[in-house]
C-alpha cells in the first residue's frame, strides 16, 4: 500500500470521532428538516389545492418566493435576519428552519401535483355513491395520492441531506464542516473531501434505493 | 434481363417463432404487385426485409441484380457495412402505415432531407424537385406546412412524395391507408394509381381489396409465412384455387 494511503488511514482513525459527530449532526439536521418541512408542506399542498382564494394566494406567494430563492440565500437570510429582528436562534436552529421552509415548498408542490393528477371522475364517482367531501378525501383521494407522493417524497429526503451541507457555511459542525476542519489540520484535502463525498453518496444512494423500493411496493398491480 | 426484384427462399425468425418460412417472389420492371393476407401472415415483415429494416436469417433478396443486406464470405453470412446498407436502402422507397413524417420539418423539408443528405443535391435543386413532387401529389399549396398541420391523408401523400423523390427503382407501400379515416383513403389510393399509370414498379401491402383488384397486375396472397397463392387478381378473386384464399376473400369487404 502506498505511503500516502497509509497516512490517510492514520489520519482517518485520528479523526473518527469528529467525523462521526459530523455525520450524526447531518442526519439530525436532515431528519428535523424533513419532519418539520413535511408537516408544513402537507398544509401548503392542501391550501394550494383546496384553500379559499386569499389563503391560496398567500401560500402560492410563499412557495413561489421560496422556490425562486437559492437555498443558500434562505439559510444566510434566516441566520442573519432572524437575530436582527430579535428572534435569537443559533446557527443550527436557523439552518434547520431554512431547510424546513425549503422542504415545505417542495412537499407542497408534490402534494398538490398528486392531488390534481387524480381524475375528476374519481370525485364524481364518490359523490355519486353519496360520500361527503371528508369521506371522499380520506377513502378515495388520499390512498391514490399517497402512491404518487411517497417515491418523490423519499427523493426529497435525499435533497435535504445534500442541502444540509450548506449549513457548514454558517458554521454548523455537520459532516462537511468537520471534514474541512480536519483538512485544515492535516492538509489532505484530496483524500478527505473524497471520503466525505463517499459518505454522502452512501447515505443518498441508500435513500434512492429505498425510494425505488417504496415505488415498487406502493404501485398498483396492473 | 434480370428481374427488378428476386426473392429466394426468404426465412425470418423472431426468436423461436418463424414468421417467414421460405418466400420466393419475382417482380419485373413496371410491375404493380399487391400483397394481401390476414394480419400475422408475414406480408409486412417481407416488405421490411426488402428494405433491411428487419434482419433475416436465410435466403437472398436481389434488387436490380444487387444482393441486399448480406455478403457471404467463406461460406458465412455477414451483414454488409452500415454505409452500404444505407446506400442499398435508397434503391427502394418506403411509405409506412404511420406516415412517420419528421414532425419538426415542413413538407418541403421532409422531402429535401434525403435529397440533400443522401443524394448530396444542392439545396436549391432539392427544393425544386421537392416542389415538383409535392405538386404531383396535389400538395404544392401545403409545402410550408408542418406535419401537425396536415390531415392524415395529406401527411401520407407527403410521405409518398418523400420516398418517390429519391428516385427509387421500387416503391414499397406498407398498409398506407390502414391508419386513415375512411374518407381520406381515396386521395392516397389515387396517388398510388397515378404512379402505377406512370410505370412505377410497386410492391403494395394492403387491405383494400377493391384497390388491389383495380391497380395490381399480380396479387400475392400470403398465409402463415408462405405464399399461399399468386396470380392475376381478375382470376384469383373470382376463382380462388385454395381453401385459405376463399376463406380470406369471404371475410374481406370490397368497397
Amino acid at each position: 500500500m502506498p505511503v500516502e494511503l497509509l497516512a490517510f488511514f492514520d489520519q482517518l482513525w485520528l479523526a473518527r470521532f469528529p467525523l462521526l459527530r459530523g455525520l450524526g449532526l447531518t442526519v439530525a439536521i436532515s431528519s428535523l428538516a424533513i419532519v418539520a418541512g413535511t408537516l408544513l408542506g402537507v398544509f401548503v399542498g392542501l391550501a394550494l389545492t383546496y384553500g379559499a382564494r386569499p389563503l391560496r394566494w398567500i401560500v402560492r406567494g410563499y412557495t413561489d418566493f421560496v422556490r425562486g430563492t437559492p437555498v443558500l440565500v434562505l439559510i444566510l437570510a434566516s441566520f442573519y435576519v432572524l437575530s436582527t429582528v430579535g428572534l435569537h436562534l443559533n446557527a443550527f436552529q436557523a439552518g434547520v428552519l431554512a431547510l424546513a421552509v425549503f422542504c415545505s415548498s417542495h412537499v407542497g408542490e408534490i402534494v398538490r401535483g398528486a392531488l390534481l393528477a387524480i381524475p375528476a371522475g374519481q370525485t364524481e364517482a364518490a359523490k355519486a355513491i353519496g360520500l361527503t367531501f371528508r369521506q371522499t378525501f380520506i377513502y378515495v383521494l388520499i390512498p391514490q395520492a399517497i402512491r404518487q407522493i411517497l417515491p418523490t417524497w423519499v427523493n426529497t429526503a435525499a435533497e435535504m441531506v445534500k442541502a444540509s451541507t450548506l449549513l457548514s457555511i454558517i458554521g454548523v459542525g455537520e459532516l462537511l464542516l468537520s471534514t474541512q476542519e480536519i483538512i485544515s489540520r492535516n492538509f489532505m484535502s484530496l483524500h478527505f473531501y473524497f471520503f466525505a463525498g463517499l459518505l454522502y453518496f452512501a447515505v443518498n444512494f441508500a435513500i434512492e434505493r429505498f425510494g425505488n423500493y417504496v415505488e415498487r411496493k406502493t404501485s398498483l398491480p396492473t | 434481363m434480370p428481374d427488378l426484384l428476386e426473392i429466394r427462399d426468404l426465412h425470418k425468425r423472431y426468436g423461436e417463432t418463424e414468421v417467414l418460412k421460405g418466400v420466393d417472389c419475382d417482380m419485373a420492371k413496371g410491375d404493380v404487385v399487391c400483397v394481401i393476407g390476414s394480419s400475422g401472415s408475414g406480408k409486412t415483415t417481407m416488405l421490411r426485409c426488402i428494405n433491411m429494416l428487419e434482419e433475416f436469417q436465410g435466403g437472398t433478396i436481389r434488387i436490380d441484380g444487387q444482393v441486399i443486406g448480406y455478403d457471404v464470405v467463406e461460406g458465412r453470412r455477414r451483414r454488409k457495412k452500415e454505409a452500404e446498407v444505407a446506400r442499398q436502402r435508397a434503391l427502394t422507397g418506403m411509405a409506412f402505415q404511420q406516415f412517420n413524417l419528421f414532425p419538426h420539418m415542413t413538407a418541403t423539408g421532409n422531402v429535401t432531407l434525403g435529397l440533400v443528405k443522401v443524394k448530396k443535391m444542392a439545396k436549391e435543386e432539392a427544393r425544386g424537385l421537392a416542389e415538383q413532387w409535392l405538386d404531383r401529389v396535389g400538395l404544392l399549396s401545403r409545402k410550408d406546412h408542418y406535419p401537425g398541420q396536415l390531415s392524415g391523408g395529406q401527411q401520407q401523400r407527403v410521405a409518398i412524395a418523400r420516398a418517390i423523390a429519391m428516385n427509387p427503382k421500387l416503391m414499397l407501400f406498407d398498409e398506407v391507408t390502414s391508419a386513415l379515416d375512411p374518407e381520406l383513403v381515396n386521395e392516397v389510393l389515387q396517388v398510388i394509381k397515378d404512379l402505377a399509370r406512370d410505370g412505377m414498379s410497386m410492391l403494395i401491402v394492403t387491405h383494400e381489396m377493391r384497390f388491389a383488384y383495380e391497380v395490381a397486375n399480380r396479387v400475392i396472397f400470403m398465409s402463415q409465412g408462405r405464399i399461399g397463392e399468386e396470380g392475376d387478381p381478375r382470376e384469383m378473386f373470382v376463382k380462388p384455387r385454395t381453401e385459405r384464399l376463399a376463406e380470406f376473400l369471404k371475410n374481406s369487404t370490397f368497397h
Partner: protein, 220 residues
C-alpha cells in the same frame, strides 16, 4: 424591536449586486452549455448496446446525483490541485456546475430519446440516411424540442445553484450580498433585495423560456 428599515445603504451598493447577478447568470449559461454537450453524449452512452459504454455513464450519473454539489465544488477547487489540476475560481466553478448539470441533463435527454417514436428512425433509414445522419438531423432535434421544458427548469435551478460559488469567493450575487451585509449591517434590507433579485430573475427566465418553447414548438 427598534429596527427601522432603511434601504439607502443597499441602494448605494446596488451596482455591486447587479454585477454579481450578471456574473451569476454568466456562470449558469456557461455551465448549461457545457452540461448539455456532456449530457447528450452520456445520454447516448446510457442507451448504448455495449456495456462498457453504458456502465461508466450510469456510474457518472449515479455518483453525481447522490453527491452534494457543495462537496463537488470544494473538491474540484481545493482537492484537484493536489492532482495537478489547477483551475481559477471561476473556471473551477463552471467546470463543476457543468459536470453536475451534465448528469441531470443526461437523464433528461435519455428520457427524451426514448420518447422519439422508432418510426422516425425507420423513415430515416428508408430514405438511405446513416445512423449518424438520423441522430443529428432527426432524433436529436425532435428530442430537444420535447425536453425543452425540463431543460428550462434545469437552467433555472442551475442559476440558483450559482449562489454556491460564494463558498469559494466567486463574486456572484450571494457573495456580494453577504459582503454588503457585513459592511453596512443593513441585514434585513440586504437579504430582502438579494432574494427579490433571485426571485425576479427566476420569474423572468421562466417567462423567457416559455417564449422560446413556443417559438421552437412544432406548429400544429
Amino acid at each position: 424591536m427598534g429596527y427601522s428599515l432603511n434601504f439607502s445603504a443597499v441602494w448605494r451598493s446596488f451596482d455591486q449586486l447587479l454585477a454579481g447577478l450578471g456574473l451569476s447568470l454568466a456562470l449558469a449559461v456557461g455551465a448549461i452549455f457545457i452540461g448539455c454537450v456532456i449530457g447528450l453524449f452520456v445520454a447516448f452512452a446510457l442507451r448504448a448496446k455495449t456495456a462498457w459504454l453504458r456502465r461508466p455513464a450510469a456510474l457518472y450519473v449515479t455518483a453525481i446525483r447522490n453527491t452534494p454539489i457543495l462537496v463537488l465544488i470544494l473538491f474540484v477547487y481545493f482537492a484537484l490541485p493536489q492532482l495537478g489540476v489547477r483551475l481559477g475560481k471561476i473556471d473551477s466553478f463552471v467546470a463543476t456546475l457543468a459536470l453536475y448539470s451534465g448528469a441531470y441533463l443526461a437523464e433528461v435527454f435519455r428520457a427524451g430519446l426514448t420518447a422519439v417514436p422508432p418510426g422516425q428512425r425507420e423513415a430515416g433509414l428508408a430514405i438511405g440516411l446513416t445512423e449518424m445522419q438520423i441522430r443529428t438531423s432527426i432524433i436529436v432535434p425532435i428530442m430537444l424540442r420535447n425536453v425543452l421544458p425540463s431543460l428550462s427548469s434545469t437552467f433555472i435551478s442551475l442559476f440558483k445553484d450559482t449562489s454556491l460559488a460564494a463558498a469559494i469567493a466567486v463574486p456572484e450575487l450571494t457573495f456580494e450580498a453577504r459582503k454588503i451585509n457585513v459592511e453596512t449591517f443593513r441585514v434585513i434590507e440586504t437579504w430582502i433585495v438579494a432574494s427579490c433579485l433571485y426571485v425576479a430573475t427566476c420569474a423572468v427566465l421562466a417567462a423567457l423560456m416559455r417564449r422560446v418553447e413556443r417559438r421552437l414548438a412544432v406548429p400544429r
